[in-house]
Symmetry: C2
Subunit: 345 residues, 2 copies
Amino acid sequence: MKPTVHDIALAAGVSLATVDRVLNRRPGVRAITQARVETAIGRLGYVRDVAAANLAKGRVYPFTFILPVNENSFMIDLRAQVAAAAVRLTNERISLRIVEVPAFDIQGLVAAIDEMVDGKPAGVALVAIDAPEVRAAVDRLVDAGIPVVSLVSDLTGTRRDHYAGVDNIAAGRTAGSLLGRFLGGAAGNVVVLAGSMLVRDHRERLEGFRAVLGQDYAHLQILPVLEGFDDPLLVEQLTVAALAEHHDVIGIYSLGAGNRGLIRALQALPADRRPAVIAHELTASTRAALGSGLIDAVLNQDAGHEVRSAVRVLKAKADGLSVVEAQERIRIDIFLKDNLPQTAG
Amino acid sequence: MKPTVHDIALAAGVSLATVDRVLNRRPGVRAITQARVETAIGRLGYVRDVAAANLAKGRVYPFTFILPVNENSFMIDLRAQVAAAAVRLTNERISLRIVEVPAFDIQGLVAAIDEMVDGKPAGVALVAIDAPEVRAAVDRLVDAGIPVVSLVSDLTGTRRDHYAGVDNIAAGRTAGSLLGRFLGGAAGNVVVLAGSMLVRDHRERLEGFRAVLGQDYAHLQILPVLEGFDDPLLVEQLTVAALAEHHDVIGIYSLGAGNRGLIRALQALPADRRPAVIAHELTASTRAALGSGLIDAVLNQDAGHEVRSAVRVLKAKADGLSVVEAQERIRIDIFLKDNLPQTAG
DNA sequence: CTGTTAGCGCTTTCAG
DNA sequence: CTGAAAGCGCTAACAG
């Protein structure tokens, strides 16, 4: 049988309470006693039963998700996934709170983060903006002893515990590779549509895309990057203008949101001028555009997976356990018109 | 506070034991009493704390994985993943046992399945061979009240509880789509290498591949399918022979294992005769071949995810709970030389 | 058919 | 600094 606290107490010749104090690093134990207990733990190979511990403690894990109020399909889905996880996880003693902040607003995000320090949640997940102020705020959270996970967009140079999101450089490289191959050697201009260069995920996608095109498809010329702030209207205007100005656009990489605008611009184009198009996130509109051939490939990240992964990691950190790294790698789905899943997206 | 059995007992005016009997559908309760208890449960919105229940029961979940002894990298990885999960899950009261059977051996598999009925595990996961005898054996297991999950390769027409694996038709379609686009309109022959038409995953990949080529790339001619039984040597011989016989092979789809043999055959080919190649499973050899340009794309399934998903589902079934379908969809990774992950595979 | 009681493994007062 | 005892939510004998 697996050893229990009783076995440890017996082996070390102390009481249950003392074993518990040692296990939970609580003060009030002589060094010599502590050593005896720790030896017994090591010798018997004791591992604490977290479920029983939580039962005794009546422990709950209050986690907070700080999400931007950004009305694109992906962010709407992300919020829905957090909400769904919240109800599903209540009987696992996990409670999820959502705090909303304006999109692309550094000050608002910083304020929300700083408020966390008082609320003392057992962990915080946030969609980060890559700015020095945000990095400082995140480090303050970590200093306060609160585990922090960045979600969807990472924030390097901080002491955040984990990043729950896709490898965006790899995503950009994949987009470049697919576009290059789909164009099969033709030369011409490529339009890149981003949301904002403020967020790291968009910058990284661009970086990966540029790297592959520069290295393997030098005959493709990347036009100056357009920032559409994930707004369909703006994206449409920018796309229409770019296509009017440059008549030899043979490829488009849309690495942000607002694809409804892109699709409208594509529809307005004569069929023989349609470029090869790679976009991100499988939504109702990108799915339809894949089907009709307006978009050639969609790179997708599964918001549900990201949320579940973030929660798993936060819980592990709160329990002081390690995470199964391989399990937490968030994959990039590549959807072509021929492999669309029945559901999902 | 969340209601407990005590609250239910109080509300229904019965004892804890009676509440417990109702909760666990144990006999010995008058219909009228049972109704009273159930009303209370419904009214208070009671949900049982599974962790506490398991603690009280001292419950463990003995699950058995029936795996083929097939020495290709994927199966080796699969076994390693089960072994890794086994140690990680012991402190979650889950114990995994591996039973090995010869590969592609219907009788051996059936015998192994039938032995399960006596061992009475809390659940069985198996890599199925798609044969009537196997289907019958699986249904016998289900009849014995043991949850069954098919792993990697599905088994339809049975009452198995779940399939933990990728959508192989979609995988085949993806392969067809990528090959078609990579070839950019060129016409010619395509070689398909399978492991065995006995297993459903291979048959399904072929079906999806055929469908897309027939519909969208009719200028590509599929040669009679070669069965290499996942054996590198045989695969190499078959490939060399096919390339010798048909001089206009412009594409290869390797939908089974034994890719080391395929790669050797490709290396022997003059560079200007190299076809576009799509293969399955990211292993050391396919990864290297991607890097060197011998293989153009690799479709990958993550054995670790499949194992973890199978365990989650078996546990949910054993507890009589429902599963989060979206979480259990196993994704197909598409790897090009530009998006290889640092680790994994 | 129903209730009482003693735990599961761990934590937490409250005494000593 | 250490120990005894009660209890988290649920289940399992064993009595009635």
